[in-house]
């Protein structure tokens, strides 16, 4: 997902006081939504089993955070996600490197991505279950599958768009082969690499939660998808909501981690692409 462009135009009329900060305004909107939710539940007397109040959700959240069931599930999910993404990223980088060094590699990548890119990771899950059974390997496989294509495509694009002048300047210094790739092409392709990782993370995150929903427990501990599904099974709707809140918060956290990395690297170096 793309972060919005910062508004740099001077605005004629500034909001008064603390509301001048966009953060304060956004926080206020969020609080407003939660208040509306609480009021709605209280006013309409909707069944808590269908639509619990934010207070009930908060209570479930705090309880499952302190009894460690949410932290454990989160850890499991993140483990699957990180291992799967690392495998996907390693394969994606290899494919991209092969693609820029040979025309066979280029054709291979374009065939593979056109065949597999439209196939979502979750669609591969039944196959993964046949191949690997109900094991963590099956989940890691689908996450790796979901992440490898966006990373391969954008890294390939990144390598291909490195300025020819920069490459020539590097080659006059006697750089070639792996050293050229590592010292020059990779950092020069970093903007594309990061945006590929962002897309990969978004795909991987959706895939891992969906896989856990279908899958139930793999190994000793179920992940967040499993947590939500068990809560549904026992009709503990506040816990279903608590699981969703955690997934959303983690998503926001990762989004900010990406922004931080971008700020420290490509933005600092003036390499951020427009848009």
């Amino acid at each position: 997902m793309r972060g919005e462009l910062p508004v740099t135009r001077p605005r004629p009329v500034a909001a008064p006081g603390p509301l001048r900060s966009p953060w304060a305004r956004r926080l206020l909107i969020l609080v407003g939504l939660i208040v509306f939710w609480q009021v709605y539940v209280a006013a309409t007397q909707v069944k808590p089993l269908l639509f619990p109040s934010p207070a009930a959700v908060a209570e479930a959240l705090v309880r499952d955070l302190t009894n460690l069931s949410i932290p454990r599930s989160t850890l499991t999910t993140l483990q699957f996600l990180v291992i799967g993404t690392l495998v996907g990223a390693a394969l994606g980088l290899l494919l991209a490197a092969f693609s820029v060094t040979s025309s066979l590699g280029h054709d291979l990548l374009s065939v593979l991505t056109s065949v597999f890119n439209p196939l979502p990771g979750v669609a591969i899950l039944p196959l993964a279950m046949i191949w690997f059974g109900l094991t963590p390997t099956a989940i890691i496989f689908v996450v790796a599958y979901a992440t490898v294509w966006p990373i391969a495509i954008s890294t390939d694009m990144g390598f291909r768009t490195v300025s020819p002048t920069l490459q020539m300047a590097a080659r006059t210094l006697g750089l070639k082969g792996l050293r050229l790739v590592w010292d020059v092409l990779l950092p020069a392709a970093l903007p594309h690499l990061l945006s590929g990782l962002k897309v990969a993370w978004a795909f991987g995150w959706r895939t891992v939660v969906a896989a856990e929903l279908v899958f139930g427990v793999a190994g000793a501990q179920g992940g967040l998808g499993w947590y939500i599904n068990t809560a549904r099974y026992f009709l503990e709707t506040p816990r279903v909501f608590a699981g969703l809140v955690v997934i959303s918060l983690l998503g926001i956290a990762v989004e900010y981690a990406f922004r931080f990395v971008e700020f420290r690297t490509i933005e600092r170096w003036g390499m951020k692409k427009a848009g």
Binding site: M168, T172, W269
Partner: protein, 262 residues
């Protein structure tokens, strides 16, 4: 004086994306002497940049020889540093200082503290030591070119190849850098091959000027301008007149051809 670069009866051909071959330069021969400033000038499309890239080792002639120090050129190397016209030749993820330090380290010229000291020395020489800790995107065009020159000189090349290094600069910065280049040459004694399309620049900077004609690129004349430092004097006026006359013919011929092509 010895010839450091010998270009002997060189033809360079390109294959465009549609697979058609065309000749960029043909039958070009010249020699560059140790320690001189050799300028290549010509109309656009005459293959002067191609010729420089052949000396740098980025393109190979399909006929003839390019010799540097008596050896045929096979690939790019740090004995032939290149300064390009484009502003994106510095590594954007390294500061100005790190760009030079990296060049020194990776070419094995110096490492550690010695590399930093030498890098600072060359930055001081081109007058941008104050910007050492900035990233390239924080520099003006002129400062980027100064940094690129510092990086090129720091690796102590046998030859400094410059491809229209001041072509994208404003007139005032351009004149400043031309003067500084003369000073840097006097300080280091490095052999320079400079490609330009500016008659004024050629007359001011060159000891000798190779005038090229286009379609295909070939040598028209080699003019001894003999390094005229006084831009107001009669010698400078005479040198520019000669170059203008040689190029004027070429420019008119090209205009006629282009008219005919329409």
């Amino acid at each position: 004086m010895d010839a450091v670069v010998v270009v002997d009866d060189v033809r360079i051909e390109y294959v465009d994306p549609e697979g058609r071959r065309f000749t960029a330069v043909d039958g070009v021969s010249f020699e560059v002497r140790e320690g001189e400033k050799f300028v290549i000038i010509g109309p656009s499309g005459c293959g002067k940049t191609t010729l420089l890239r052949a000396v740098a080792g980025f393109v190979m002639p399909s006929r003839g020889w390019v010799l540097v120090g008596g050896e045929p050129v096979r690939e790019p190397g740090p004995d032939r540093a290149v300064v390009f016209q484009e502003f994106d030749q510095l590594f954007p993820w390294r500061t100005v200082l790190d760009n030079v330090v990296y060049a020194l380290t990776v070419t094995g010229r110096a490492r550690g503290r010695a590399a930093v000291e030498q890098a600072r020395h060359f930055l001081r020489m081109v007058g941008i030591e104050a910007a050492a800790d900035r990233y390239p995107h924080q520099l003006s065009g002129g400062m980027k070119q100064r940094a690129a020159i510092a990086r090129a000189l720091a690796i102590r090349p046998k030859i400094l190849l410059m491809d229209e290094p001041f072509g994208a600069l404003d007139a005032i910065t351009r004149t400043q850098l031309q003067q500084e280049l003369n000073r840097l040459w006097a300080e280091t004694g490095v052999t320079i091959i400079l490609v330009t399309h500016s008659i004024q620049e050629a007359a001011y900077l060159g000891h000798r000027v190779l005038v090229m004609a286009a379609n295909p690129g070939r040598v028209k004349a080699v003019v001894d301008t003999d390094h005229v430092e006084d831009m107001d004097g009669e010698a400078f006026a005479e040198a520019t007149r000669r170059l203008r006359r040689l190029l004027g013919g070429a420019a008119e011929a090209q205009a006629v051809r282009e008219e005919g092509a329409k």
